[in-house]
Chain length 365, copies 4
């Protein structure tokens, strides 16, 4: 598993590609036959992470047009691998001598060199945030699959630096994907101030998954929340993950934190509260699945930093070009994508939970 | 993957067993030949999670004596699967009618029923915390393997409810595994008060991994921190995970959060700070790996709670028996075990990183 | 994958244990909940491979009583791992100095030493045929699962040395599992003559799988016949595998070898012949699945053989004890077990073939 | 695992693509960093399976020019996924009404429909032999890796129909890859006669792997020969596999079939004969690894055949276009590719066999 580029056991995605190589892409093996799918389904997802869309993102101009190479026939998946290609148009030759020789603080230049002994340094190579384009394409396919089961995933920026969403306003749309207009304005100011100093901001993304009935996920190592943590923590800048009451649960007591089961009188069971975040014992409990992740401040900043070169000499580095002053808004859709891949993977193992489900699935084959 | 009971790709552990079944255990496939190993190596780990050891743990009296059934010959691993058996001695027949029919709040009774349609309800069955005994046995083997590579893993209680360790005192030993005597005393009082009310506490565990050189971990989905999150979040009561500056990084700025690379003049590179928590781009950077996880308050409390039964009728439940008023101290060694399994698994893929490593490994075969 | 002791992706079996260690066994993860299962279900399978049952098998007296440790509650599988333990009763201490120092021809003593540098030499350790006891226990569970889907697997001895079954007689029962009385008598004579010379025989096992509807198996690497070959070739003494017309197809022509599709007038499609052996393009075609495997003559023979010792000195070895003069009859049930594991594994991925199957499986969850 | 398009645990290849879709290709994850690799390395392999090269292959004109999209930087692998793209140039729109509605005998049309309910019927879609182009590209990378370890793989046609190679002549080159000029001439005649009748031939391919030292392969399910059988049987037209004395071993006796170990006096151990085919107990024994596989006659023949349509009506089908009258010669390189993938995968797990290998591999990291 030299590069760990496959995710999932049933709905399995393998990604490839470097920031300034010929192309990025993914292969999905395990998507069931019979799902309507076209490149149009991918566009809205790709667009949300595309650079050059607001004052808070880099100016890199990528078409990010995903091309489906296989696995779809006459607009429907055939059950064979779905390969998606995203060509790199922005391969201008640049002067990479700095990044080739110096280790950028907060980046993976040093660790890649220590691991592999060689590294495609152009634009960060495989460790570039651009790698997530392939995840988003795959996640869009997973989301389409989940949609057919009435499962909907929605992520948004819940805080930027110290500014948090206070009240969730579903009608609010802005380039920070922050669903609270007042918080958005404060966050914009906060980021702009940091930008003017060549500095960068972090934040928190919250994700809500609706429509997952009770019973999804595996009870031991492959707990649904463990798989979600795995998926989301694999996004480059994410440094923390919590589900439901999360770190706050450490401060709570059993009496408060336990969610009471209730009934609607017709035998439908639900919970009075949702401190669990929709997962009990690693298995969905029928409430919304709610998790949050912490995104660190962009490592690429526009002020000189001290570092070392490959030979171990201390040097100063000034990272060129324009970079996102905050990664959070573009990471929102990446979080959604990783959640979709995780849930789709879990859904596909669900028929194996009970012999009766298998019999039902195969009754007429 | 109906029950997701295997962890790891190279150092692979499969666990089995229910709380009140005949036995629990694990099979480790992928442990290299040539590691000195006896049951004595497992005892210290097993002892740390054993119940009945302090006023803060249940009185259940389990010998928890692990028996190695295979894979070890004359005190050395042979490269074949290591099966470890832990018999359940405490199988007293009890009255489980309540737990069979009622869904305990905060427990997985309901979700197991919804997933599988059947559940071994005795003592929580497969979802009991007792399941972690098998993890700890396996983790002890992994820790022995890592020890031969000078990798040491140490976890401890960093907070109980609102009481946090202020200054780390390595000489402090207590039944909460809390390395700060003053904090320990306050935490004890806090727990005792909750116990007197039939209530329970949560807390935070911190884990430090020393001796991992730069270059461990995979750069995309199998990032070292993502794998650690996956491993640790799979422990029943864990609700959050963070590495390095974690959720605080969301409040920081790039200028502060970036760790400066430095050199000792002899070409040895390290970092001036460790906000990264020892992992950059998913690969170890040579600093200590430092992560924390949030443990929710024990779900089993001694006050009556409202809930529903299997038929969907609202009922009151009073959970019998004595339970840990706080899971944190017994979970400390489980966190260590899961970290050891994760790091051991990653170590075994390290020779494949470079062709030269493979050549070196196999040069005389 | 240091010892490759796990088989299957969905119905996953991990085995462990050495010939003269404390116990052998297996853990099955992925068996769906709701299957009626008791130890009684395993006995008939275990009995068929048990030694000491006829003049053609070793006298080793093993009870081979499988004990289910987990995963079954009140006689029904719960969806959690099913651990099965088979204790080794026959652990008489013997003089193993020969086998410890000398490499038996046709055995894995030498290759284990070269791979692992250490080996449990007692009775062959992990490479003993006794390892298959755990496979048979697991295979019995798989067979029970398949039975609920009306899939039946039946293997038998189709030849011993040069003597082949001419006409299949389902009523014939004998200790060679050879369904042709005349062939059985000749084969007995053949084996007895070789026994009298201290020599041994090989043979061929044929396996027929009935009740698999068209559509099982994956089209590329995981073709159903490729998975069957993998499973069956993993049995120690098996040296060849063929499906349908197999090696004879190399001598045939397309005109003869192609199976004509026919219809019963009511739209039910079948094939006029079955040269394919029930698999086309890696996917079951609705005909019986028919394969054969070649079993080499028992490597343990009672005449002195030339060999080398660990130090590389040429020596003579005389293998002590009584051994099966032909492995074929006891391997018959092992072939069935491996076929059952393969088919069960494939069946569990079948609901994922089509979105409509998943919807149908989950419609009421 | 809806389509089973990934092979390998360490050196993992995922293929994609349909015969008449936009492109085929593969992603290799797990190739170590530091291997010199260019597209030139792939060409000789691709050329050997390319159509249109002799009178015995189809006229389809495919450039089959593989394009490396990622994972290679400045001519050296970087340890990240290597994606290889093979565009389909020959996408002429044709009349596929027959193949869309009728099930070709000996093909996977019917089974794909039964499995997935939908099928890209153009040119056979995913079940076309064209799928193997991606395997060959991946196999060429594996072969380059093995070459650095002095492991060489060579396959050739050992028989066509009833005509077998009698004496192996390494200098003989011909378009059947049959290393015996006399056999080649007879085989050509045999095929030409069948061609004139619109019929087709089968044959046998033998593969020899040199340079594998003793100790490669896993001892239980992942035996080296079991993995080779799995790999080779996954090639579309292969119906049988045998290693060493294979099916002939069933006719032999222990005394004859056992290979005597010998020594050169300097402590180097080898075998006097090689009935084992280079694998004992699933682990390489240091002799050449020798296996054979049976290839069925081409299913596409030029004479009318009886079949059924999708609705279950009996019909006549006449398959249009020119097809290989024998698949064997083009399959030779596919067998080599699958062997290379299998051996490379096994090699990468070899450092984990012993703790000392891991220590040696990592000693300076």
């Amino acid at each position: 598993m030299s590069s760990g580029s496959t995710f999932g056991n049933n709905f399995r995605v393998t990604t490839f590609g470097e920031s300034h190589g010929k192309a990025l892409g993914c292969v999905i093996d395990g998507c069931p036959a019979g799902l309507a799918l076209t490149e149009e389904d991918l566009i809205p997802y790709m667009s949300r992470r595309k650079p050059g869309q607001s004052k808070f993102t880099t100016a890199r101009n990528e078409a990010d047009a995903p091309e489906i190479l296989s696995g779809v026939f006459e607009g429907v998946t055939t059950g064979t691998p779905i390969a998606i290609l995203i060509k790199n148009n922005d391969q201008r030759s640049k002067d990479y001598s700095d990044i080739a020789e110096l280790y950028r603080p907060g980046h993976a230049d040093y660790t890649f060199d220590k691991k592999f002994g060689i590294r495609d340094y152009r634009g960060g190579g495989r460790s570039s945030g651009r790698e997530t384009a392939a995840r988003v394409a795959a996640g869009a396919v997973a989301a389409k699959l989940l949609d057919s089961l009435d499962i909907k995933i929605h992520a948004y920026t819940s805080s930027v630096g110290p500014i948090s969403v206070i009240s969730y306003d579903p009608s609010e749309t802005n380039d920070l994907f922050m669903p609270d207009h007042e918080a958005y304005e404060k966050a914009s100011e906060y980021i702009e101030k940091l930008m003017s100093e060549g500095n960068s901001a972090g934040g928190v993304i919250e994700c809500v998954i609706k429509g997952v009935t009770a019973g999804l996920g595996d009870p031991v190592f492959d707990k649904l929340d463990a798989r979600l943590a795995y998926a989301v923590m694999s996004i480059g800048a994410v440094k923390g993950f919590e589900i439901g009451s999360g770190f706050d649960s450490a401060l709570s007591t059993g009496l408060v934190n336990n969610d009471q089961f209730i009934s609607d009188g017709a035998g439908n069971i639900s919970k009075k509260t949702n401190h669990s975040g929709g997962v009990l014992g690693g298995i969905s409990d029928g409430s919304d699945i709610v998790f949050r992740c912490a995104v660190k401040p962009t490592a690429s900043i526009s002020v000189p930093q001290r570092t070392v070169d490959k030979a171990g000499n201390e040097k100063e580095i000034l990272i060129k070009g324009r970079h996102d002053p905050v990664i959070v808004p573009r990471a929102v859709v990446v979080v959604e994508a990783m959640a979709a891949l995780t849930i789709a993977d879990a859904v596909l193992s669900r028929p194996n939970d009970r012999l009766e489900y298998i019999h039902r699935a195969l009754k007429s084959t």
